[in-house]
């Protein structure tokens, strides 16, 4: 059978063998946690604790700052030693709560458990917001917003994203293998909230064990497991919807415009914890890998652990890392140092040695059109970039710069090593800035 | 019928007004920075050429020839063409101010555009019948538009090139026009006429 997929895309070596076989390990607590108040897209949370306060695991330390925002919880018990700007994965100094860990890890009173079969959808959505749940694939968009489509946009399909198309990352893979039931619980909650007719779980075909496992679990539950062709960016929301349902999210639109909601399997597991057990989101699974790490692992980490601590748990580094990436190698964010806290969106931490980091000199574009063929949004990356370089933003916009999903296929495939996606990202920001100006 | 088709094809490709006869170079270089304006200019010229061919044909055979004043041909034709262009200019300004802005000074310059006058004179020279004149005019105008649009496309692309400073602007445009004309040499002999 031909596997479902989308048009465009490419096949980077998936490099998952380093950590795919490693069961999830609990990461021990460090002495200090730096919990950023901005761990999601939208307004940052407002701190509600002061220096000297004792906090318990799961206690709210930052209140949500608006509708598109979620609260932040203490990942463990300890004493607040500072509320100040700290280096954030974005490279900026942003407000964070620093907690000295007492090691007891005593939990605050959990929220009441809800029964997904009987609870009101609105109560479930409130719970998801209170638990601070955001998209855990890396985008960190507040989940309750995604689950609240306006009434004129009926949702008939729920898609679970277990694709994990980024090379190296195996966190979702391990989660599906080890905690499949939790994911199913989360799916039940989502189905109750959305009232959908059809639920799909998309998994890339390079994870046959996860496909078998989830197929067995899902049988008889109105959930269809869809094996997908191994191709990057198969896990990008719009591409995933296209592959599974054949619907294309309109340009500038959202999945809800075609009646679909997509949720990451990690988010699903977090929802199950929040609803069935009343636990807020303070931990997640993250893959630590890359050739500079001694022992690649899949870790269950707490939010606020410094990247240096994660590396230490994985046996430290073999060589001086030349590149540190939070997230996947294609779309992740390069980090200035390891003194940065992990957040709810930290799906992975990759450390590469100098020899793995390919830095080719930029050459001239010879219009080989590899980027055009690879672009999953079917744009002309090199032409958009050429106009952007000359600051001709009208032309760049006309060519659809805003439809770019920033998957990085063009930069990856470019034989001339041009920074295409970086340039287009700049064009997008410049066009948006100009629109705001009016 | 075949004759008419041949005249049309010949005027568009083989004896392209711009690239083979080198008429109408001024708007060709002046208004070819963007494909859209080139297209607009092409349409304006198409209109002027067709109407000019009709009117000048009538003037030639119903006024100049009967009165034996063919020596006034040039003056009479320029007079008519100039008025026509004025007309088009007013219409464009009213109907499409954007195009009017983009065409700028080149719109009134169609007045003295050798392509239009050349067409009128060629029609008489080749002693085309009325129908042949009109077809020849349409062909010439389409050829002009084709050359304009092709050239504008090339120039839009050259805008993105790191052309050496001394060749920027008109210099590189002229080189490109030369190369384009070179390519059109391939049509030579395709249709005799």
């Amino acid at each position: 059978m031909r596997l479902k997929t989308f048009s465009g895309g490419l096949h980077p070596p998936d490099s998952k063998e380093f950590s795919a076989g490693c069961p999830i390990e609990d990461c021990p607590l460090p002495e200090e946690l730096v919990v950023p108040l901005s761990q999601h897209i939208g307004a940052p949370a407002k701190p509600v604790v002061q220096v000297g306060d004792r906090v318990l695991r799961g206690q709210v330390i930052g209140e949500s700052g608006g509708f598109v925002s979620v609260p932040v919880h203490a990942p463990t018990s300890g004493e607040v030693v500072a509320v100040e700007p700290r280096l954030h994965p974005s490279g900026r100094e942003l407000p964070a709560v620093v907690i000295r860990v007492d090691g007891e890890d005593s939990a605050a009173e959990p929220m009441s458990a809800l029964d997904p079969a009987t609870a009101e959808p609105d109560a479930l959505k409130d719970r998801i917001r209170e638990a601070g749940i955001v998209g855990m694939g890396g985008a960190t968009f507040p989940t309750h917003v995604k689950l609240s489509p306006p009434p004129e946009k009926p949702i008939d399909t729920l898609i679970l994203n277990g694709v994990e198309c980024e090379p190296f990352l195996t966190a979702d893979h391990r989660l599906m293998l080890e905690e499949g039931e939790k994911i199913l619980d989360g799916i039940a909650v989502l189905q109750r909230i959305l009232g959908v007719e059809k639920t799909y779980l998309g998994i890339e075909a390079n994870k046959p064990d996860a496909i078998d496992q989830m197929s067995a679990l899902c049988s008889g539950r109105n959930i269809e497991v869809v094996p997908l062709e191994v191709k990057y960016p198969q896990g990008a929301e719009k591409q995933l919807i296209c592959a599974i349902t054949g619907r294309e999210v309109p340009s500038g639109g959202l999945p809800m415009d075609v009646g679909v909601v997509v949720q990451n399997v990690g988010t699903c597991a977090a929802i199950a914890d929040a609803v069935l057990r009343g636990l807020p989101l303070v931990e997640r699974i993250a893959t630590v890998s890359g050739d500079a790490v001694v022992q690649p692992k899949n870790l269950r980490i707490r939010v606020g652990m410094s990247l240096a601590h994660l590396v230490e748990i994985c046996g430290g580094t073999r060589v001086e890392p030349a590149k540190i990436i939070m997230g996947g190698p294609m779309m992740g964010m390069a980090q200035l140092s390891l003194d940065v806290p992990a957040t709810r969106g930290t799906s992975g931490l990759l450390l590469f040695s100098e020899e793995k980091v390919v830095r080719r000199p930029e050459g001239p574009c010879i219009r080989c059109a590899r980027c055009v063929q690879a672009c999953p949004a079917r744009l002309l990356p090199t032409t958009i970039a050429a106009y952007t370089r000359l600051d001709m933003m009208d032309e760049a916009e006309q060519l659809g710069a805003l439809d770019c999903i920033e998957c990085g296929c063009c930069s990856y495939i470019c034989p001339a090593a041009l920074p295409l996606v970086q340039t287009i990202r700049h064009a997008k920001a410049a066009i948006m800035a100009r629109r705001r100006k009016g | 019928m075949v004759e008419l088709v041949l005249i049309l094809v010949s005027a568009i490709f083989v004896n392209n007004f711009v690239l083979a006869r080198f008429l109408g170079i001024c708007p060709f270089l002046g208004v070819s920075k963007k494909v859209d304006t080139a297209l607009g200019m092409g349409m304006a010229v198409t209109f002027v050429m067709t109407v000019a061919a009709v009117v000048t044909w009538f003037i030639q055979y119903f006024i100049l020839v009967p009165f034996n004043i063919e020596y006034l041909q040039t003056i009479a034709f320029i007079l008519v063409i100039a008025s026509l262009v004025q007309l088009v200019e007013m219409a464009v300004q009213k109907l499409s101010p954007v195009l009017y802005q983009a065409l700028g000074i080149f719109l009134p310059l169609i007045t003295t555009n050798c392509a239009v006058l050349g067409l009128a004179v060629l029609n008489i020279q080749k002693s085309y019948s009325f129908l042949e004149s009109v077809v020849f005019a349409i062909g010439a105008a389409l050829g002009f538009t084709l050359a304009m649009v092709l050239f504008a496309g090339l120039r839009e692309r050259i805008d993105l090139c790191p052309v050496p400073r001394s060749f920027r602007g008109t210099a590189i445009a002229l080189v490109t026009a030369g190369l384009l004309s070179l390519a059109f040499m391939g049509f030579a002999g395709l249709v005799k006429g």
């Binding site: 600051d391 | 100049l64 009213k94």
Partner: protein, 289 residues
């Protein structure tokens, strides 16, 4: 002969009638003042006035009664000319010139990381707030140089923007394009400026820049009228710029500079006096290092 005159006259008459009719049908109202204003504007279409191009500004002046004083590149003469056309009085405005408030090029200031990507300051600023350790320093990727319609900005080989005061018309294009607000508009008569844009504390500044303002107060002690220190950064009070001299020599990090005595090092404008400046003191005309 008669036939010639009559027939040509007839053709001309017919054409004239047709044109006359067309002129009535396709009449477009254009205010003659608009064309007159367009005439006196520089035609650079720089956008300093806030309108997309000179013709849009001319239209706005005539139709919306926008102030005639918005064309900074044209200077006082243009403003007066527009005011004359519109029949209003022109208020005088002091001509301005842009100044890059930074001397920390890639040799003198530290970098946080190596930036690889589009050569554009705004693009670099979006990557972890720019590669320069100083949050206010010039990124040196030349966005202002490309934005300047008058060719008044050059980048030194070590990555610092320097503005040629004679070519600068005060159009503010560079100010709006700079992501770090390094470029400021200053009165043209003032030649002494604090070339630093970092509001960090002195100890922090010292760590990442050799020529940053450390807010040591020495300039203020030497010329109390001419300087203020706000938020750990010294600033020249331009009303008293003529008294700023003593602060220049005493500044321990040489971040205060008098442009009469040269430009930041590495720029090709460096050295020599500006002919437009009168009363240049006798001493010290060499390039300040």
């Amino acid at each position: 002969m008669i036939a010639a005159v009559v027939s040509l006259g007839g053709i001309g008459l017919a054409a004239a009638l047709a044109l006359g009719a067309a002129a009535r049908k396709f009449a477009v109202e254009v205010d003659p003042r608009e064309a007159a204003i367009l005439e006196v504007l520089s035609g650079a279409n720089c956008g300093a006035c806030g309108y997309p191009g000179c013709s849009a500004y001319a239209k706005a002046v005539v139709e919306e009664g926008v102030s005639p004083a918005l064309c900074t590149p044209g200077g006082q003469a243009t403003i007066e000319a527009i005011a004359g056309i519109m029949g209003v009085s022109a208020e005088a405005s002091e001509p301005e010139v842009a100044v890059v408030r930074c001397q920390g090029d890639n040799r003198k200031a530290q970098l946080k990381y190596r930036y690889l990507g589009l050569v554009d300051c705004n693009a670099a600023q979006r990557v972890a707030d720019g590669p320069k350790a100083c949050p206010g320093g010039c990124l040196g990727l030349g966005s202002c140089e490309r934005a300047c319609p008058f060719g008044a900005i050059e980048m030194t080989p070590d990555g610092l923007a320097v503005i040629n005061r004679e070519l600068c018309t005060g159009c503010r294009k560079c100010v709006s394009v700079c992501p770090r607000n390094v470029i400021a508009m200053t009165p043209r008569s003032a030649t002494t400026h604090v070339l630093c844009n970092s509001h960090d504390k002195g100890a922090v500044v010292r760590k990442y820049c050799q020529v940053g303002c450390i807010a040591c107060q020495i300039c203020k002690k030497n010329a109390p009228e001419a300087y203020v220190i706000e938020d750990f950064l010294a600033r020249v009070v331009y009303e008293h710029h003529d008294q700023a001299g003593p602060g220049v020599e005493k500044c321990p990090t040489s971040c205060i500079r008098d442009f009469r005595f040269g430009y930041p090092e590495g720029s090709s404008f460096g050295g020599g006096e500006l002919p437009s400046e009168k009363n240049a003191p006798d001493e010290g005309t060499g390039t300040a290092g």
